[in-house]
Amino acid sequence: MAEENIICTFCGSVCDDGQFDTEKFKSKRLCKLGSSKFSKKERIKAPMIDGKEVSYEEAIEKAAEILVNAKKPLLYGWASTVNEAIRLGVLLTEKVRGVYDQCASVCHAPGTLAVIEEGLPGGSLGAIKNRADVVVFWGANPMEAHPRHGMRYSISAKGLLIKDRKQRKVIVVDVRPTKTAKLADEFIQIKPGYDYPIISALRAIISGNADAVPDEVGGVSKEKLIELAETMKNAKYGAILYGLGVTQSRGRDRNIENAVKLIQLLNRHTRWVIWPMRGHYNVVGAGEVPAWEVGYQYAIDFSRGYPRFSPAEFSAVEVLKRKDCDAALVIASDPAAHFPKAAVKHLKNIPVIQIDPFPNMTTLVANVVIPSAVAGLEAEGTAYRMDGIPLRVKKIVETSYWSDEQILEKLFEKVEELKR
């Protein structure tokens, strides 16, 4: 049998209905993004120290030395690996008294801050597929970022109460017409940076204070806002699914906080949930694992031997910009490509260890490069879908690459040895 069932390890949708032909090395049913991950790709050939190929043991030994000799190393990434590796990463950071941070700090972390302010009234993707007769994508464009989300969970997905696409109203709120907007029943274009006042206007209308709302808010007419508020109130079960358009525009966490308050209000009339459209396949795990191990989701400093959480101080970008770390371990991520210039500049000046299956910009600044197996294809482990549902991703092909878990286990051992 060459056909194997697979669970996709690209985006936060973590589609678990994929197939993989191990002989042809080709996937079926996955979207473009997923099938490109599950195909032959350029790989880092072997472990390297300063560009010279070495054994895994040598590379790990060197990495351990760097971490142990550093006063305050930064251990960053984690969103594209499995929980077993993340757990070791958290324990390792605690051991070397470094800083743990993960990709959310540059994407969905404002959503986490909003959870701290107001909570997260949500539901699983299965609840949305079964029940939601109104779905609002706010600053999110799943047709490009999570291509099968609509079909599996949210737009055309059929379920218990929603038997047909016509029974569900899909609304897109965004600053520009997106691919998702084309599929929507309604597209509401707003002025960039006006999410907060628009949400406030909806809250005012729903709580009976429409008088306070001006004729136009953020490029949307009052009539339109009243219509949207009515649609929301008349829904049987509604869902707001928000993306980086809300978390990374003016207002950031306050936008989400306001949206959560809107949901609180709507639940006094009918049922509504809100949920973030998380990006990487296990960025949820990168926050959940440290939460149970040390109490916080991201931006965690261990320099005092116990965890402290402070996003404005201990998120990777801030630590790097402040030059407040003297070594870095980067795993399953590419900060050199995505971080601001000032942060990348410091990354170039300190010893960097990279663990990743694929070469990227960070490879170019890394002193120690440790290639790893691709989780979901060459290594197994637990991942949390964007709604927190755990799925066990599979190992379906053999490889000589070590898994992230193996590498970190060995690294942890070495660090313990050196610290003794």
Partner: protein, 561 residues
């Protein structure tokens, strides 16, 4: 390391084996309690327990210690994580006020002499997450109870009156979740919440299904009893947190009337304090504990646990999603909710119990009334952690149940409302030390169906706590401060024959077992296959990817029945 122990000259209380404060020696080998002859010629470590109380390790049968609920609680409440309990050294960094990190949970139980704890609500589809967190808790043995009462499969089989298929489904679900027993939370009410409602009685119809809470509860009891699972149905009643709910609770307790089991109860009703309110509004609310106690004392097949509130911080987290929303509306606090596929839901709301708040004081008094008025063989000491507060305050509850004088002192500090709304001030009962040991050890072990736990007989697991308390001398009525202090910090905590903590200091770390119950041999698993395949279209994961394999767990312990 010694693999044999000799605990010498301790004063042993071991209710299961009829040992009432007797001076005797306990011997341990290979993690078990053994006869003296077994340790002859071994390298034996002797522990001098002269004038100390020696008992089995505590068993917490209902706490929320692992999974998506407590973890969302941690995320939502960083202010809870700022109490530092241990700086990383030989042991892990451990933090938390009432909500604790996984390492802190294990450490705090161990310091207090508790050696087992059961996660009381595992969302079935989130089973793996619950197990990952259980696997991150050191020191104790553990297990999880998956939640059944709003699962569509259960509704369908109850609706069809098909007990055989219901049994098969339970066996399937326990195997898939690596679960221990059948938890039921507000049966039918959480499904009603998906439409914005709740149920208001045992006879309301569940939306979309021709079933009632009464039918769900009785069918599940029947199925669990026919399967002969270790633990009975473990029920969080309908109408939790609503004035007047005690009547529903009594009606529910009586549902067990038609069933019997020689080894244990057929129904365990949990955190009853939250379901023991008389009156018809928060203005007229009063205690319904006495009526519940009367019913409980007249039945011999039902047990309860207290759900005692502790003044101070807490976090409400239950599978009772509609109640959590009500609580959010009542307090205006943060609110998290999770509707889960076709299985049920959950909610989380921060909470603080204030002694001067009449309702909080009432809740506090009701918990104690239940503990005092119900036979000690039917009521287990819990705080429904973290709903009623921290498990680390169990010693407070223990001391309170044993001392009227302590209660009188505490009553002076709380809202005078309890004087007229409860009978607590008039209750003279003082539980004995032996009763308290039973309520925290042998009774929960019996209720859970774990014959190797909660006692010190030969063959039992060597989970032992030694406290600085001489039962032959202590006056528990008057020396309540000493009692509290002694139970707060065990002099020794021994788990599977290893000394883990000494006088509040951790000395060793161990990883306990995770029990799960395999009943698949008792049913024809093929019988529900077509139903599973068909109804999984309402899931967002494939049937083949649903569930947890044993090899993914750190130390699974399968109990085959």
């Amino acid at each position: 390391m010694h693999h044999a122990l000799h605990i010498k000259n301790g004063i042993v209380i071991d209710p299961k084996n009829g040992v009432k404060a007797e001076k005797m020696d306990i011997f341990v080998k290979d993690g078990k309690i053994v006869e003296e002859s077994e340790v002859k010629g071994e390298d034996v470590k002797v522990i001098d327990a002269s004038n100390k109380l020696v008992v089995a390790g505590g068993v917490d049968m209902h706490a929320h210690i692992a999974g998506s609920k407590i973890n969302t609680g941690r995320t939502m409440r960083p202010e809870e994580m700022r109490v530092v309990r241990n700086i990383a050294n030989k042991f892990r960094a451990a933090v938390g006020r009432v909500l604790l990190t996984s390492p802190a949970i294990g450490y705090e139980y161990a310091k207090m002499g508790y050696t087992s704890s059961f996660e009381a609500a595992q969302p079935p589809i989130g089973a793996m997450h619950t197990h990952e967190e259980l696997d991150a808790i050191p020191m104790i043995d553990k297990a999880a109870l998956p939640v059944f009462g709003n699962w569509h499969f259960v509704f369908k089989y109850v609706e069809a009156k098909d007990i055989e298929k219901l049994k098969t489904f339970i066996a399937w679900a326990l195997e898939r979740t690596k679960g221990f027993g059948v938890k039921v939370v507000n049966p039918g009410g959480v499904e009603a919440w998906m439409y914005g409602g709740n149920v208001t009685s045992l006879d309301d119809q569940v939306p979309g299904f021709n079933v009632t809470p009464r039918e769900i509860i009785t069918s599940l009891i029947k199925a669990v009893e026919e399967l002969k699972l270790n633990h009975s149905v473990h029920l969080h009643c309908n109408r939790l947190g609503v004035p007047g709910n005690y009547e529903t609770t009594i009606e529910t307790i009586k549902l067990a009337g038609g069933f019997s089991n020689d080894a244990r109860q057929v129904l365990h009703v949990t955190h009853v304090q939250f379901n023991a309110y008389a009156g018809d509004s928060w203005r007229t609310v009063s205690s319904g504990a006495e009526e519940i106690a009367k019913t409980m004392n007249s039945m011999d097949n039902v047990t309860i646990d207290m759900g005692q509130p502790i003044f101070g911080h807490a976090t409400a987290m239950t599978g009772d999603a509609p109640f959590q929303f009500t609580l959010h509306k009542l307090t205006g606090a943060r609110w998290s909710n999770k509707d889960s596929e076709v299985e049920g839901g959950a909610g989380i709301v921060p909470l603080v119990y204030l002694p001067k708040n009449p309702v909080h004081a009432l809740q506090w008094a009701i918990g104690l009334e239940l503990g005092l008025l119900i036979d000690s063989d039917k009521v287990v000491l819990t705080t429904d952690y973290p709903n009623g507060g921290p498990f680390t305050e169990y010693p407070y509850v223990m001391a309170m149940l044993m001392s009227k004088k302590m209660r009188e002192g505490e009553l002076e500090k709380v809202s005078p409302f309890v004087q007229k709304a409860t009978n607590l001030p008039a209750i003279d009962t003082e539980k004995t030390l032996e009763e308290i040991i039973h309520m925290t050890r042998s009774l929960p072990a019996r209720i859970l169906g774990l014959p190797q736990k909660g006692h010190l007989g030969v063959g039992a697991d060597a989970d032992i706590a030694i406290y600085d308390l001489n039962p032959l001398e202590i006056d528990t009525s008057n020396d309540f401060e000493k009692v509290y202090k002694a139970f707060k910090t065990a002099e020794y905590t021994i788990k599977s024959g290893r000394i883990l903590a000494k006088n509040g200091e951790l000395v060793d770390e161990c990883w306990g077992k995770t029990y799960w119950v395999d009943a698949t041999g008792r049913v024809d698993m093929e019988a529900i296959k077509p139903d599973l395949e068909d109804y999984f279209k309402y899931y967002s994961v494939e049937l083949q990817n649903y569930g947890v394999e044993e090899e993914w767990l750190k130390k699974p312990e399968r109990i085959v029945i």
